[in-house]
Symmetry: C2
Subunit: 493 residues, 2 copies
């Protein structure tokens, strides 16, 4: 937090440097989607980006898009999906307290949204990666994101919905490359190195943005409205402490510029926020080892089915369990991991007995043994009555054992020496918006001329998160906001 | 949430029904404290209360006050305390992320604050109640609130600081009776049945309140400022869902009128909020049974030292552990509970073996046995290496066993049939204020003429809570706000 972000009266602006129909503030995935739709509706659009180039945190992300309901990729891979089935999964996985109105629209419109990505030049390979992982090391275009594990496999028909642009590993750069090319083709103007500092207001309506560019004051007027797509607030320590302290001290999944400025600019006008404490958090444990062994807390207790989508074991650990957390696996399990799923990780501790391992991990004597005893007793008959891990992974664990440092594995939240907490995340809460992106004030009324999408807003998420739903709802509701602002939906009657 | 709480320009008010120096909105403990100090400083004070009589949620509370640093009661009971020692405990117990600046002042001023209560006619018996409980059934004036258990006994010198007005059981009514008598003696005017609807503003400054009284519009002008002491927001389901969803579905510790209206009225002016997700939550488990046995989650796992302050086991269970939670005790332990500590509770299940009890509690076979095995192994030598329960309570548990329904015990969050979740709570987050109660906007600047205290504001709490700290900081910072507003600290230069 630095300096005043109080709204500026239009009368205090000497000269507007440009006047357009629609101003988009922040050019990540949500801003690109809003700009594209506003331009497609015939509006003149100017997008402001504080960095020296557009893309934002979206371009640094994995690039997964959570899409379903029967996309071409799903069909080609032999899966039968529909919007209701997708809704049933996401309501549970993004909950409790997912926004059901937004979620319903998101699921109903998902096949169309998939086709929209293809129309922008984003390609998806029609093949499935079928193993537990954070991110496939292949170019497969479809992956599971927790749909096939308990309890979700009982709440909805299991169908994979992780759609991946065709790239090995991180694909956010590619997704944004295509969207930004489309933005330029659509005639959208882009001003980089331009930091929005305050909203400009006139007669109770947002009519522009005051900004700084290389130290100079600039101002832009928007005839139809302003769309805030400035991202979340993981990079602002003061806002984290005030609203999402669970992420303090952990790594940040961002481009370093997610400082919540858009949220605060709107809040200065009385905008309401929702679910500011909800976060995504990723623990860098190795899924391939975990499913074959167990994840325990500092007291040697299991707390989740280890075959769950990695974001869920991360969230369970970081939010609810005393650390350090450990992945315990036996030699047989370790040896059976395909090399491509090892991410170069080696066990940190090895021990002939659990007594020895307890000592090495500073787990109280007997505690890990008791956990393994209960696990083995049921695994011997293919059951996991505590957490319902799939029978595919169940087998009594036998000596010798190894323990993995969960700070090693996936490249987030730690340096190359395994320092840090092993966890990194970003924020999900933000401005309270309608399904068309209109920003609501604390009385529940729309603030004329003001829209928001992406992580500057509260989207489809409750307290849960699944990969691909932030790029997914950022683009989906970014598009809706772009259409609404271009239609003048924010204009006063 | 209902209707607009947008600020009203003074020019839109035809006639002010009264004009005073200081308006206090809400007459619970924080409002009473603010009114008393403002009046003592020579200001004319009018307090608005929406209910038909003052007292608010404070009057319905237990009445404990968290005070220390060497009070007369502590000294009479033979305890040596100081402000640093008190600070060390509260920083840990109210954390992580307690407000250290406010906490420092609170601890440094605690002996004076204790004497201020006595000066208002609140009496404290100079005797200690020395057993784990939610609330002593005696008139003892001092009780432990977690200071003597792990890990707090290693972070600070254990000294009891729970100060209780002289009443059996709930004492909030008595505390408020004395404070309100002092308020009337001080010449403060009180308007009951008067619901503040919006702040009145003029030239960027808060100058009054628009309200409704028996359906009629009324308005009050404040020459020096307005103090919002309207309480938290546990009674507003929409605000709970947006900011503190962990309390959804649980009982509410309130007078039914804690709907966050003051927080929203200020947020409409661009006020910042902090820690809106922090809550107090109480699980109605029987402490006397728990210390003698164990508290387990739905999977038969222990998760905390059972002798901890009841608010902490409640918070650990409700926020972090899968329910239903169970108190498991053996016959020897149960029989040793003093009758006065039983609260009329009887075990719900009894069993000759743990296998049988697992079946009755739907705990997976072997899981509770494993927990008891590990517990007994260490209890036999007076140790609890997992959670460090005091050796005073450690003894191997032997058949027969019983399980208590944690929905029975303390009279919150359940009806007489044990319905409900067994948990009830209130919200701790609110407006961002200076140590003198000035409300800050999202740019960090004080909003001229606007003050807040009590649960309408974010006080000394981080994510933790200890009984007596809400009445404690509500009155302490209510007094500071009263002095600041009377001194015109909120006036523009």
């Amino acid at each position: 937090m630095s300096g005043s972000i109080a709204p500026v009266p239009a009368s205090a602006i000497d000269r507007f440097d440009a006047e357009v129909d629609v101003l988009v503030v922040g050019l990540g995935c949500a801003g690109a989607a809003a700009a594209l739709e506003a331009a497609a509706a015939g509006a003149s659009v100017l997008a402001l980006e504080r960095a020296s180039g557009p893309g934002g945190s979206s371009a640094m992300s994995g690039g997964e898009l959570y899409l379903g309901g029967g996309t071409a990729v799903q069909k080609a891979c032999g899966f039968d999906d529909d919007a209701d089935n997708m809704f049933a999964y996401l309501r549970a996985a993004l909950g409790p307290h997912a926004d059901e109105e937004k979620l319903r629209l998101y699921c109903d419109g998902s096949v169309d949204h998939f086709e929209w990505f293809r129309a922008q030049g984003v390609t998806f390979q029609e093949s499935l990666f079928d193993a537990p992982t954070w991110m496939p090391p292949t170019t497969d275009g479809l992956m599971w994101l927790g749909e096939n594990v308990w309890p979700y496999n009982e709440l909805a028909r299991p169908v994979p919905r992780g759609h991946r642009p065709t790239a090995e590993g991180f694909a956010g750069w590619l997704l944004m490359d295509r969207l930004l090319a489309a933005v330029r083709d659509a005639g959208v103007s882009i001003e980089t190195d331009t930091l929005a500092a305050a909203l400009v207001v006139e007669d109770g309506r947002v009519v522009g943005v005051a900004a700084r560019r290389y130290g100079a004051q600039v101002a832009y007027r928007a005839r139809r409205g302003v769309v805030l797509t400035t991202g979340g607030f993981v990079d602002d320590e003061e806002m984290l402490a005030a609203h999402a302290p669970v992420l303090l001290g952990h790594g940040k999944v961002s481009d370093g510029l997610d400082d919540g400025s858009g949220i605060r600019m709107a809040a200065a006008l009385g905008a309401a926020t929702r679910r500011m404490g909800s976060v995504e958090v990723a623990l860098t444990a190795l899924p391939a080892a975990m499913v074959r062994g167990m994840l325990v807390n500092a007291l040697g207790q299991r707390f989740i089915n280890e075959d769950v989508y990695p974001g869920l074991f991360s969230s369970a650990a970081v939010k609810h369990q005393p650390g350090p957390w450990w992945v315990v696996v036996d030699e047989t399990g370790w040896e059976s991991i395909p090399k491509r799923d090892l991410w170069g990780v080696r066990p940190r501790y090895a021990a002939e007995t659990l007594v020895e391992l307890e000592s090495e991990l500073s787990i109280p004597e007997g505690a890990l043994q008791a956990t393994v005893d209960v696990y083995n007793r049921h695994a011997a008959v293919g059951a996991d009555p505590l957490f319902h891990k799939n029978a595919r992974w169940l087998r009594p664990l036998e000596p010798p054992f190894a323990a993995l440092d969960p700070r090693l594995g996936f490249a987030t939240g730690r340096d190359s020496a395994g320092e840090g907490t092993g966890a990194a995340g970003f924020t999900l809460g933000g401005l309270h918006t309608t399904v068309d992106g209109a920003v609501l004030d604390v009385s529940g009324a729309a603030i004329p001329g003001l829209f928001a999408a992406g992580r500057a807003s509260a989207g489809i998420h409750g307290e849960g998160y699944i990969s691909g739903t932030s790029l997914g709802d950022g683009t989906f509701f970014g598009r809706r906001a772009g259409r609404a602002v271009a239609a003048g939906a924010g204009r006063q009657p």
